[in-house]
Symmetry: C2
Subunit: 443 residues, 2 copies
């Protein structure tokens, strides 16, 4: 297996490169922008995630022997282009929203600058990572808001392809989840891992009691016992009988949760297990979590819905050429006109306007060419949204790896506080704040 | 980066193993079954995909130094269990539906036999792979049926996490797509790759004409030109002007496709480019493809909807303990009773009953214990659905790698012919054929 990420790329990126190397346009300096035209699913805000992962994958975006052999043998590009790719590494710059930041329609989430040859071939990988991770993070943030102070764990690995599951655990953690069941997410990204037991554990043993006794012997009385394999009422009774009133928790994975949670709480209290926590894990999404707000539930485990973006598994972001040099070296803002898919040309600076600490507008300044965009301090009552992530090929190490995850989660939880109250509702709506474009030259 | 897949696993698999090694149940022989309780989205059939990928990942399901260090440092399991995992490799057996096969509710898609210690820890990885790949393949098969003889290409890499994109391209190909835009899917799985050009290609050039001329110089006159960057009518005119009437194709990525396709066809014909093909690629799913059946479209490119399972990104399969040894070494069929999530205990044999070559029933024989299940020939007018994929740890090489993909696609296209006509409709419904369970002892 190759560790290169370079072929996680649509074929046309390389055939365009091939043609551009032939006609001389490959060396034109270009500005590509990654943004979302709209928020999928009538979401009121989006959460940027994947940035740190993308930067790591960018390090491995090199064409090794296996990749070059494939391109040569399959005649995807000319021998000259194969030679060009041998020494390829991205030497351009990327400015972008910090990971964990909120975004709105038209927010310039990533701005990639470099020659056409440098920048065009990153399109597929950048979109793959950002679209997936941001979709999960956006759904996760809604669940985290709905859960309030109750802990949330991501347990959806089995409902996502194996590598996506690791990325999804990471995105959910950035957006407010407290832990994941996925061990690789723990190893690779430093995310706290958790788990209880499966129904197979109970079924493996000759009796439910033996299963409970063994789990407690191994994990201690503070463990969480799964009580719904046979009969919940009998399971709870047995759990307290075996563990005593100091039992850490019980997990319920089936049934009408508000009803069952209330019954189990009453039963636990009657048995004296007043400190035993109730974790629920059955088909939860943000709406089910919100509906359980008044129920005596202590923790949520969310599977399918968080790893699949709760109905919207991709954020629908696009990667568009917005400015380039012309034959004479001057800068031209470019945009396509395709029906319903137009784009806004020009390099952009982005700021979130705040009023008393509350976000009121996504303010995007457009520069036609090389004009200097305003710095954060220049725009009163605004917070600058972009940071330099890659400068002439050098990747900011603080945005990568486990430290990148820690920073992204902290940033997300901080900026979420700026959201207006109406952004927190779960129903479909327009974006919580408008995106306003202005020409930098007009200020 | 580690190439091990062993930590793509929920934490509770390993804590259950830990407790089972302590209490002696780890050595009990077990039968786990991977199946779907229902077909998500009111689909009329499901398509099994991922099997060959899973077998490859199973080879890498070993705990190396990095994995063991993490488990030790994070105290996920006891030092004794860490030592047990050092030498872990799966030495059990897996019987399963051939990749590309159809499945229905309760079909025993995979049957994993081994000690509890051997088999329980494969749950997460097996479900991750099969749930994702089967969801994509099921959606892809519906699109392939809707497209009829017109070629279909998978172009959704940018709307799926980077590794899932490769798996999705593979699953779509197995289910009838003819090509993918994803180069890694070409390299790793031998899938034909294709591509046209992006809007950025046109925008990079000073004029649309220069972009078209350059693409033709590089890729030849048989290439497909993207004609909707500015104005489709003008784009088509220019395309034929530049390429001549021998132009291979034009791609339309926006607008009201039935209307636009008809206009473009008329315009191409009027210009004499009667052999120029029309490829459409804008937000297609199986319904949009079906709606274009009467339009003059020559090929479809499908993105988001195929890689996200067209609204159902996971197949919802589960992995359940269905039989095990008891303390005395006898076999016990086991099943849970949890509300709405019950399972059917016992090892199973599966056959598709056919009447005049048309599938009429998914017939599942249940054995309580070690009884021999009937062989294919024993059940008249039936086709046996299970094959041995792994025997005492030895993986069938024919099910893996590129040859596995070729076999799976051929098998899928063959068995799809057995579907009754009503299975081919796209609307939500019950499964096309019923699943009937019978006790092997009763025959």
């Amino acid at each position: 297996m190759s560790a290169s990420t370079a072929l996680m790329t649509d074929r046309y990126e390389l055939t365009m490169l091939d043609a551009a190397l032939r006609d001389g346009t490959a060396s034109r300096h270009c500005v590509f922008e990654l943004f979302a035209r709209r928020l999928s699913g009538g979401r009121r805000f989006g959460v940027v995630a994947g940035t740190g992962r993308l930067l790591g994958l960018l390090r491995d975006f090199r064409f090794g022997d296996e990749e070059l052999r494939f391109l040569r043998d399959a005649q995807v590009v000319s021998p000259e282009t194969v030679r060009h790719l041998e020494s390829y590494r991205f030497t351009g710059s990327i400015t972008g929203y910090r990971e964990g930041e909120l975004y709105f329609p038209g927010s310039p989430i990533l701005t990639v600058e470099g020659t056409f040859a440098d920048a065009v071939i990153l399109e597929t990988l950048a979109l793959s990572v950002m679209n997936h991770d941001s979709a999960v993070a956006t759904a996760a943030a809604r669940m985290s808001i709905a859960a309030g102070d109750r802990p949330l764990a991501e347990m959806g690995s089995r409902r996502a392809a194996e590598a996506s599951a690791v990325a999804a655990a990471r995105a959910a953690y950035i957006a407010g989840f407290g832990a994941t069941s996925n061990l690789e997410a723990g190893r690779r990204w430093g995310i706290p891992t958790m788990g209880t037991a499966a129904h197979a554990w109970t079924l493996l043993h000759d009796t439910e009691e033996e299963a409970f006794r063994s789990q407690i012997a191994s994990l201690g009385v503070d463990t969480t016992l799964l009580v719904d394999t046979y009969d919940i009422r009998r399971g709870v009774e047995l759990a307290v009988q075996v563990a005593g009133t100091g039992l850490g928790g019980v997990r319920i994975d089936s049934g009408d949760l508000p009803l069952v949670a209330a019954e189990v709480r009453a039963q636990l209290d009657a048995l004296g297990a007043t400190g035993t926590r109730i974790t629920v894990t059955s088909d939860l999404d943000e709406y089910a979590i919100a509906a359980l707000a008044a129920s005596p539930v202590d923790a949520y485990g969310v599977g399918t819905s968080v790893v699949t973006g709760s109905g919207y598994p991709t954020a629908g972001m696009v990667y568009k050429l917005v400015a380039r040099q012309d034959a004479g070296g001057g800068w031209v803002a470019v945009s396509k006109k395709a029906e319903g898919k137009g784009s806004q040309g020009g390099r952009k600076g982005a700021f979130r306007r705040l009023d008393g600490g509350v976000a009121v507008e996504e303010h995007v300044e457009i520069a036609d060419g090389f004009e200097t965009l305003p710095a954060a301090a220049d725009v009163a009552g605004s917070r600058a949204l972009q940071a330099v992530l890659v400068e002439h090929g050098d990747i900011d190490p603080a945005a990568e790896g486990t430290q990148g995850v820690v920073a992204a989660r902290a940033h997300h939880l901080a900026v979420r506080e700026e959201l207006p109250v109406r952004a927190l509702a779960l129903s479909k709506s327009d974006p919580a704040i408008p995106t306003v474009f202005s020409d930098a030259g007009d200020r």
